[in-house]
Amino acid sequence: MSNHYYNAEDLAKFGNVAEYQKEMADKFFSYYGEVFKEGHLTAKEKSLIALAVAHAVQCPYCIDAYSSDAFEKGYSESQMMEAVHVASAIKGGAVLVHGVQMMNKVKEIGM
């Protein structure tokens, strides 16, 4: 085992997951490739969505990959940061909106 849970070099080894389960890995990577192709959304738009989601799921590999990819596809630093804020707002909002549930419960049991 390495001394760290995350190693930047491991990103390039993503495909190695097929060593333990080839069929599922092949299906996943085929699906993955299909998802990021030009479609009703452009490959560039998908890259920015992926960047925001990468932050929301706090995946360092994905942040590494899609920070590069989004910048390479032409997004500016400020556009990329706005995308991160969108992820942040949704994540923060997801926490805060549960405050309503808390209020409901308190109102239910309080005098």
Binding site: E38, K44, K73, G74, S76
Partner: protein, 347 residues
């Protein structure tokens, strides 16, 4: 003003130092061996369709990625005598296209004469115009008209449709002047369908990464330039930055060199090899020496034909069958969709 590596006496101004760094990176994966694995070594010329002539290293810009190390402080300029030798070669061959580059080719005092003489021979002329030269001085304001009169194909760099990306690579204020120059070219008819006046743009990455897919980028450029600035153009060429000269300096000083070279090598695409521009082009230096491409020229890697290494001793037959001089920087032209002065060369 940013000075050239040469004027700064920077070690990377010496081609031998550059080659040493390039060769040291990937001893286990030489470009020649890589071609050998696919049965493509030695790589030979397929015949000469294009004479790419570098008429001088002087430029009004000092771009951070420039493989020529061009700038206002470079004094190397092609003489009229060398131009006459080029014309002689063109007269006696069926080479159909002349691709003029620099520096800013328009800064050569004999530039306009040279273009007119080439056109008299019935050849197609491409000028790699940096756009800002058109606004740099009153005497260049009429360049769009001159290009039009001579039916010159204009190829111009614009690494982004936003100010930020362009100025970061090409210098402050370059974007604004480039937009004005493109509008001037459009005004005389460049880029318009049916005009016969071709205006192509070049994208190259403002950083240590490969260009995105050319077609998708062209679509985006066309939509953005039209809506923002009412600019039209014909095609976009996505060109990979080569690890040569000032771009090599950038890669090394920013700590990106190893990663960038690894990326070029891992993205090797054998499908790009047959369309490499070195196969149908001869590159002529400002002093008349011959090279396989503009990059080999800057690395002072002369053509392999020992008896035909200068425009004055141009041997069409020998050069048409020469083997190409290959070094590690060649991985830049075969990475991903491949790269040439005409953009991507493979799907």
């Amino acid at each position: 003003m940013i000075k050239s590596l040469k004027v700064l006496h920077h070690p990377l101004a010496e081609p031998l130092n550059q080659l040493e760094i390039l060769e040291a990176h990937s001893k286990d994966t030489s470009f020649r061996e890589k071609l050998g694995l696919y049965g493509m070594f030695p790589l030979r010329s397929s015949g000469i369709d294009i004479l790419q002539i570098n008429v001088g290293k002087m430029c009004n810009q000092t771009c951070k990625h420039c493989h020529v190390d061009a700038g206002p402080d470079r004094k190397e300029i092609m003489s009229r005598q060398t131009m006459e030798q080029c014309l002689e070669v063109l007269k006696n061959s069926d080479i159909g296209t002349v691709d003029l580059t620099g520096g800013a080719p328009e800064l050569n005092p004999d530039f306009r004469w040279f273009v007119e003489e080439i056109k008299k021979l019935g050849k197609h002329v491409i000028v790699r115009c940096n756009l800002t030269i058109i606004l740099a001085n009153k005497r260049f304001h009429d360049l769009p008209g001159f290009f039009k009169e001579n039916k010159v194909e204009v190829v111009s760099s614009l690494p982004g449709f936003t100010r930020d990306r362009t100025d970061r690579q090409r210098g402050d204020g370059v974007f604004e002047d480039s937009i004005k120059a493109l509008q001037m070219l459009n005004q005389v008819g460049y880029g318009a369908e049916g005009s016969g006046l071709v205006l192509n743009l070049v994208y190259n990455p403002a950083g240590a990464f490969l260009p995105p897919a050319q077609l998708a980028l062209e679509k985006e450029y066309k939509a953005e330039l039209l809506s923002r600035y009412n600019i039209i153009f014909n095609s976009l060429y996505a060109i990979t930055n080569m690890p040569v000269s000032r771009y090599l300096d950038y890669l090394l000083s920013s700590g990106n060199y190893e990663r960038y070279m690894d990326k070029l090598i891992s993205a090797f695409n054998p499908a790009a090899v047959s369309n490499l521009m070195c196969r149908n082009t001869i590159s002529v230096g400002w002093d008349g020496y011959l090279y396989d491409c503009d990059f080999n020229q800057m690395l002072e890697l002369q053509v392999s034909t020992e008896k035909s290494r200068h425009i004055s001793e141009f041997d069409l037959q020998a050069l048409s069958n020469r083997s190409i001089v290959l070094k590690q920087h060649c991985f830049g032209c075969t990475a991903g969709a491949g790269s040439s002065c005409g953009g991507s060369i493979a799907d």
